[in-house]
């Protein structure tokens, strides 16, 4: 899970989930706490889905 996905690609990650921002990849301080938790759940859901998905090459899960 990474904000600067070109770096993830360069270093060879195979399952990549784009995130929010460098200092807070899984959060957004502009949101309320509840909104932020919701956002984080969505991102974690994406990561869990990526883990359950067969990939044959480096893949970004938008």
């Amino acid at each position: 899970m990474c904000t600067v996905t070109p770096i993830s690609l360069t270093v060879g990650a195979n399952r990549i989930v784009p995130t929010v921002a460098i200092p807070h990849p899984l959060g957004n301080p502009a949101y309320t706490m509840d909104e932020e938790l919701e956002l984080r759940k969505e991102l974690v859901d994406k990561a869990l889905k990526a883990l359950q998905t067969e990939v044959y090459k480096q893949t970004i899960f938008e």
């Binding site: 899970m1 990474c2 200092p23 807070h24 990849p25 899984l26 938790l37 883990l51 990939v55």
Partner: protein, 348 residues
């Protein structure tokens, strides 16, 4: 001034004794230059002369590494040379290893030594930190350009002159930084590079990226509701106070932290050790970097099997690829010993 004395090492092939069928021949010494030695002779002119050439079969060398280096070192010493040249070996693997091995041993005895090989020759990686290895083409068609670089650097070594940067001298980078003044200032070089790039032409970066491993993607997790999931991060999240004193940049270590019973990371309990990004948001709520709160909730709801008892953390800021690789290997080993089935890796 008298000519510098040079001893040259070549294999059976370049000595025109034979190919693979003659690779078993033991070392022998002959007077004067042979084969590629003639190209060196032309390049040296009046400055140096090859007084002897040592020839050895590639198989013999590699199968008798300990004894053969001693024998050849004695042969070299007898000539009291100012310089020892091995190869160039281009992309010939055993020849490259032979050139690197013998040049290293001879250099250690106090005689300046140099060799040349193709960057992908296994000998290049093995010996580039021990001796100067001129970067050559991958086959003998590159002999002329190899000699053109090897001869002058060899003379410099023999005369104990200052050696320039790899880009100036043509040797394979050996990890030693050498300062030098560029003819043009940075802005001019950058604009030239950009123009080349925009025109679709070749340009040479001044900041090459390290080469990274590629790994085959792992099979997907079959049943996520039974999976044990671990968190690993390069975002520097640590228990408040940074107990392991992980450095804010160029980290020399990683931490392993017990989150048994931890449902939420708070400003009172966790923070980031990471320099280089504004730590305000991570310090206020470290779940923004590692989603312990969500994964803990999912664990309770049965949406994942288990959140691993430990998370692993280091600082990615300026950390050497070699260090990161080492941390990765150690962390992976530990994860496997805990039967972790999948990892969520977060980076800042």
């Amino acid at each position: 001034m008298s000519k510098l004395r040079v001893v040259h090492y070549i294999n059976q092939f370049f000595a025109q004794i034979g190919g693979e069928e003659m690779a078993h021949i033991p070392p022998e010494k002959r007077d004067g230059p042979i084969g590629p030695g003639l190209a060196f002779k032309a390049q040296f002119g009046d400055e140096a002369e090859i007084v002897a050439t040592i020839i050895c079969g590639d198989s013999y060398f590699n199968e008798n590494l300990d004894t053969v280096t001693k024998t050849i070192l004695e042969m070299v010493k007898e000539e009291q040379p100012d310089l020892f040249i091995a190869g160039p070996a281009f992309n010939a693997g055993r020849y490259g290893v032979a050139c690197g091995s013998i040049a290293k041993v001879v250099q250690k005895s106090g005689i300046p030594s140099i060799t040349g090989m193709y960057i992908e020759n296994p000998g290049a990686d093995m010996f580039k930190q021990d001796i100067y290895i001129i970067s050559t083409k991958n086959n003998a068609a590159g002999m002329r350009s190899a000699v053109k670089d090897m001869a002058p650097l060899g003379l410099k070594l023999a005369r104990n002159e200052k050696i320039g940067a790899s880009i100036e001298e043509g040797y394979i980078p050996n990890g030693v930084r050498v300062n030098f003044f560029e003819k043009e200032r940075g802005s001019q070089r950058a604009v030239k590079m950009l123009l080349q790039k925009l025109a679709g032409k070749e340009f040479v970066t001044e900041y090459p990226m390290p080469t990274f491993d590629r790994v085959e993607p792992q099979a997907p997790v079959e049943d996520i509701t039974k999976a044990k999931i671990a968190i690993v991060t390069s975002g520097g999240i640590v228990p408040k106070g940074n107990p392991d004193r992980i450095e804010s940049s160029s980290a020399s270590k990683f931490g392993k932290y017990d989150i048994d019973g931890v449902n939420d990371l708070t400003a009172e309990t966790y923070e980031t050790a990471h320099g280089g990004y504004d730590p305000t948001y991570a310090n206020k709520d470290a779940d923004r970097v590692i989603p312990v709160d969500v994964l803990r909730q999912y664990e309770k709801e049965g949406r994942i099997g288990q959140l691993n008892r430990y998370f692993y953390s280091t600082v990615g800021n300026g950390t050497a690829v070699a260090s990161a690789k080492k941390f990765g290997a150690e962390i992976a080993k530990d994860l496997i010993s805990q039967n972790v089935s999948a990892v969520i890796l977060t980076s800042t």
